[in-house]
């Protein structure tokens, strides 16, 4: 169906101009030997007739579909919109379409979803693997977006360094006892972030780690995290490893009458959509999704498209860079949810623009 149903094809242009279809193809693609004047005439005729090439036919002939697959662990993940948008943008700038496949958190479905994409003839795929999953060889170029600690053709944010930056921020503010909040210890990403946080906070800071998944396994989903008690126990900062957890912490603390940021600080990760609009706006660390997507797509395309300029031995080097690991920096975004701890006679001079500071 589609527009091609009635739309003109190359033969129509060829017939209208009294030339062969092959010439039209060459003229439009600029590949064979066609006189400049004819090229111009072909272009004009194509535009006049409203010619739209059949990507299907091209795919059949060339063996390349111009479509990339995007495999996600769970579309419902709040980070997904950012990823999908960035990937879709990068891909469509490169002339590729994006086919989505959701594995709904299920590992069997992930394999099945990958299979479906292969059947549809995708030229390559971007996989955001489910926590701790290793991707088997799938028979087409693959770019994995996860964390640098995953081996393979990975491009990802530098989660560790992002955590370290946040850690330094908190430490500089004067916090000496901070609670690290993660969802699941099975996540490489979260572990990297926690590792970075600890490193950034430094040896002088007391840390404890709370895994939400574990407490929910006991207390039930959506249960209180007991953060007020933690605050009473002297924790002055709650550094979550995702904005979703941070939001949960923030509201739980607020509900308990504990002021953020004047009593305790809360920070997150990922700069999710609500982060700037809650009160107080969340201090967080943002992934540069645009760059990540660009790198992933570029790597994929290098693997898919034949290298045009085998100028030097540089080709090989480029190939290696492609299949290596790229890690892109994260950006600390300081907003209102972090500030100096109450007892801070310490010097925390410049950074935070906290809305209202208690003494």
């Amino acid at each position: 169906m589609a527009i091609n149903r009635s739309g003109p094809n190359m033969s129509a242009i060829a017939a209208a101009l009294g030339v062969s279809a092959a010439t039209v193809s060459n003229a439009l693609s600029g590949k064979g030997r066609v006189s400049p004047e004819l090229i111009e005439k072909v272009r004009a005729k194509a535009a006049e007739l409203g010619y739209v090439p059949s990507l299907t036919a091209r795919a059949l002939r060339t063996g390349r579909s111009g479509v990339l697959g995007l495999v996600l662990p769970d579309i419902a993940n709040p980070l997904f919109p950012q990823i999908a948008q960035a990937i879709e943008n990068a891909a469509s700038n490169a002339g590729y379409g994006v086919l989505i496949a959701d594995s709904r958190g299920d590992i069997a479905r992930q394999t099945e979803a990958i299979g479906r994409l292969i059947e549809r003839g995708v030229d390559g795929m971007v996989i955001v693997p489910r926590r701790g999953t290793r991707i088997a060889d799938v028979g087409c170029p693959v770019a994995v977006i996860d964390t640098p600690s995953t081996p393979g053709n990975t491009v990802s944010a530098d989660h560790w360094e992002g955590g370290a930056e946040m850690g330094r921020h908190l430490s500089l503010l004067g916090h000496r006892k901070v609670l690290l909040i993660g969802a699941s210890p099975a996540s490489n990403v979260q572990n990297d972030r926690i590792g970075g946080l600890k490193a950034g906070l430094g040896p002088g800071v007391e840390c404890d780690t709370l895994w939400i998944e574990k407490v929910e396994a006991i207390e039930g989903e959506g249960c209180p995290l007991g953060l007020a008690a933690r605050a009473a126990a002297g924790f002055t900062a709650f550094a979550a490893v995702s904005d979703l957890s941070a939001l949960r912490a923030l509201t739980e603390l607020q509900r308990a009458g504990i002021g953020v940021p004047e009593a305790v600080s809360v920070s997150g990760f990922d700069d999710l959509i609500w982060s700037p609009v809650v009160t107080p706006a969340l201090t967080t660390v943002r992934m540069d999704m645009t760059t990540i997507a660009d790198l992933a797509i570029a790597a994929l395309i290098r693997a898919i498209e034949p290298e045009d300029e085998p100028e030097d031995a540089e080709k090989t080097i480029a190939g290696k860079v492609a299949s290596g690991q790229d890690r892109v920096p994260m950006q600390l975004i300081v907003r209102q949810s972090t500030g100096a701890p109450p007892s801070a006679s310490l010097h925390a001079p410049n950074k935070p623009t906290a809305g209202e500071l208690g003494t």
Copy 2:
């Protein structure tokens, strides 16, 4: 590329069995006249060789690609994961792939994105239009997910009735002065919800509507909404038309020391991912995305695939149902963020399970 690069094709099976490729095709599709024994042999051989049909070739021949397009106003929308997941699921159950296209909120891009999908030969598309946009004829079957007040082949949640349910809930609790909070008056969906809310609250309840977009145009993005003042002015309930706005309201009120739900109630729409885990958990209204997606995909497929059983005149009726408007009910989810207003000597007997009620 893909697996087809090396994979066997129909001719391979045909050659291995000493029959013609056409027969193999007929055997596998069950269309022509092939003896049962041969069908079995072909099946077996296909399995043995690991035959995977080329959907590309099939698409070229039949003119149908088996791919549906999903056009979104803005992938970054927090509701998007739900939509995408439901659509992807429904489509893949029906044997279709889903190509995504993001218009990033831009209306020109929306047209362009639709064009790209057409070029790729999608058999039909699901469009979630940008606020207030009308979709022009695009040359292929289209299902629109928006609101019943949009004319066309629309399937959507019954936003109005959802609003009415929430309104009745609030009214029943005893609220007599409620602030309706919307993002943009240009949104049909939001207007429907607001209309429903007003109707559900009934004539005895005083209402005012706050459009966030308008106050942000003056005060800047992410500015405070002045909700504490509203509470002081006697508003006891804040009914947002999206969970994102509800969350914004909730945190702003909490930050101002106003207890939710004992002092004021807050409610939202859509049951976004964070709604159950914030404190207090948000009372909201959920769309039945699964049903919506199923209806949209089913309508699309009816339009795409030739009707097999023209048994009776029922065919026509089915066709009408398909191109009409389907509205699916929304579900009220009462959690902790709504409760009786402080002065409620009124009878609000059963419904709310509010966490802690002040007197």
